[in-house]
Amino acid sequence: MKPRGGYNVNLIGGPSGVVEKLSPPEKLCIPLHSRHLKFSELRVADGDSVSSGQTLAVDPEAFSVPLLAPCGGTAGLSRLDGHIVIENLNCPPDPAPDPELPTHVPYDSGQAAEKRRKLLELGAWQFVSNARTHQVADPDGTPSAVIVSTVHLEPFVARGSAICTGSINELVRGLEHLQSLLEYQAIHLVLPNVKLELAQDIQKTIRGHAWLKLSEVPLQMRYPFDNQTLLARHLGLFTEGDETVWFIPAAGVIAFDRALTLNRPCTSRIISLAGPVVKDPLHLEVPVGYPIDKIIAGRLTQDDNVRVVNGGILTGTQITEDQAGIDTECSGLTVLETPTVREMFGWLRLGCDRRSFSKCFTSTLKKAFGENLSTSLRGERRPCVACGQCVTVCPAGIMPNAIHKYLFSDELEQAQRLRTDLCAECGLCSYICPSKIDLYDELVRAKVRIAEELGPPAEEPEEQAAQENQEEDVA
């Protein structure tokens, strides 16, 4: 299937390639839930002393994915709602990398089950997701294909290049470990433009290892073509409708190497700290649970009237007082200004400084440029005027405006017929809607409702065939 739709939202404040390692904080506040995981089964008691890498809690609904303690210390369960707080920290520094470490690992498919268990216990498995549902993949399952992506296109989550640069050997060893978990399936390695240094470095290191069944996928750098569901569809991996495709980001493959080569738990994340109000946008290596206020303190151009977003601006969630530390799935913090000044006759201006998907501003005559975006809705909520921009931008090829119409009149069956299930949850339809309709939220909710209330769609061709057979029988 050919990629379609998509749009690159340009805004200023993209993170630089610098990865800064933060010194250990005074305490860690580890949230017990993140986007897809809910660590409801606690494994420690209040006041317990924990060691680095110990399991604090597991998610019973996601194959017991563990929440690991990044540092040793005293666990506090009642300090902060929904968090495990670790105090009196004792963070052992990572030993210097062993120069003797081989660049490649030999092919060994013998202990696949044990390796998978080890990955799960050391916190590397949570990176492996089912490309269709975005949930953590079954560690005992057999995928029909695996996609590894080194590209993150949403502004501004941690860039793939920042994660991979300096860890090329780890990435390649991780790929080899991954291959030894599989039987015959190919790994689709998604690379940015093949001419980039990063892509060439990866290719150079991989070359000559014939047992690594890699197929390189150069990606068209337009958001959201890095989306796991869309990648699987574009690569033609979804044909029957029930295949399991694993998706692993580069950070996950590097975590594989850490767990299987070094036997170390994966408790730190490389996140981005970016956005128009961040002084020097960059990447940070932080342990899970690092207090968010400590991360942003002193790094913003203004302290008031800002919104901190967990993830990118298109699909991230606003960080409220309920979340004090970095969660285990965090890929970046984006900080946006909340507007306080009302612009006079803003809608009448020529709009040289406004970058728009439409061609209604004079900025159309300029080359692409970064815009200083805030959390402003930039307009008022109105009924749909059927401008059709959401259909043009939709990478999944569905019609958000038509689905909105049916959902407005609560016709869930019609929304199902229009293939709401194909929505890749990229958020572009909401971003460009001139009527400021929250299409993204509506579609995501509708998907859940359709799955719960209506179940899988009826197989029309078979029904028709059955009817025809019946008619023939009657005749």
Partner: protein
Amino acid sequence: MKFLANLLDKARPTFQKGGSLSALKPLFDAIDAFMFNPLTQSKLAPHARDPLDVKRYMSMVIIALIPCTMASFYFFGWRMLPMIMVSYMAGGAVEVAFAVIRKEEINEGFLVTGLLFPLILPPGLPLWMVAVGVMFGVLVGKEIFGGTGRNLFNPALVGRCFLLLSYGGEMGGAWIEPGGGWFGRLGQYAETSVDAVSQATPLYDAAAEIPKFAPLSDLFYGNVLGCAGETSALALILGGVLLLIFGVASWRTVIPLLVGFGVMTVVLVGGDMQLVVWHYLAGGLLLGAFFMATDPVSSPMTNGGKFVYGALIGIATALIRLKTPLFEGMMFAILTGNMFAPIIDEVFIAMHVRGLRNEK
């Protein structure tokens, strides 16, 4: 500017819940938002949004209408000003009344209807008729369906259709002889009782037993009798192309419409290409093609549907013009197209869904 902002801030409590004028909150909010960008923030992801809003989207149509509005002032004089003002005020009153009753916001779609409506009327029409027409159009064409975004028909055309059927005599006898020279009628104010003529428009002449065709150049520049904004093909093409560039009007409607009209005209009048061009420039075809048929709300939402819809309107216009006693067909053709739009959409949505059947 600070003064204005302060004034609005001071007046705000009066219109809020519990204030003495709280019923008029939609009107206050509209004025407030018209002057200053509201501070509304995104509550859900995506956290930042594209700068385009409905106000901007609709004002692009107004920008594209500037050339033909200016042409109408040049050819028919200052009378256009009260016509436009009456149209905005009378139609706006209906819009505000409905917003107040429904406790909803005032929609920007009216900004377009209010300007388009006088442009498709004979320039000598009594002002009270302009008021009655626009009120009927907004009420029946839009508000009873639920307001902008939910209407089935183009409100301006509903209003004009109502005037034509109810006051046919006045509609056919309120033409004004277009001005010429450097300033046209720019210095004049045409009086309905004095300047209005019931002479024949070019299309009427062309449909007479002994056809008489106005010169092509007159049609192109607009120096003929006709509805205020419809006469100058030059101004309409200029504005229409702008609207296509802005992406507010869809080429998927305009091009099939013009092609369909051309093909049907060739079929009906034979291979006289000059006559075909004449028909392109005469009457309301261009204004309808660029500004009326492309109304996103009342046209199909599917891209394929827009092609069929455009072609249907083009063909219907040629048929009505050349094969029925009505010598101008654009209005009825578009209203017919509006009627078919939901059905066309149904077909194309079904095809779209069928195209997705292999995607899992």
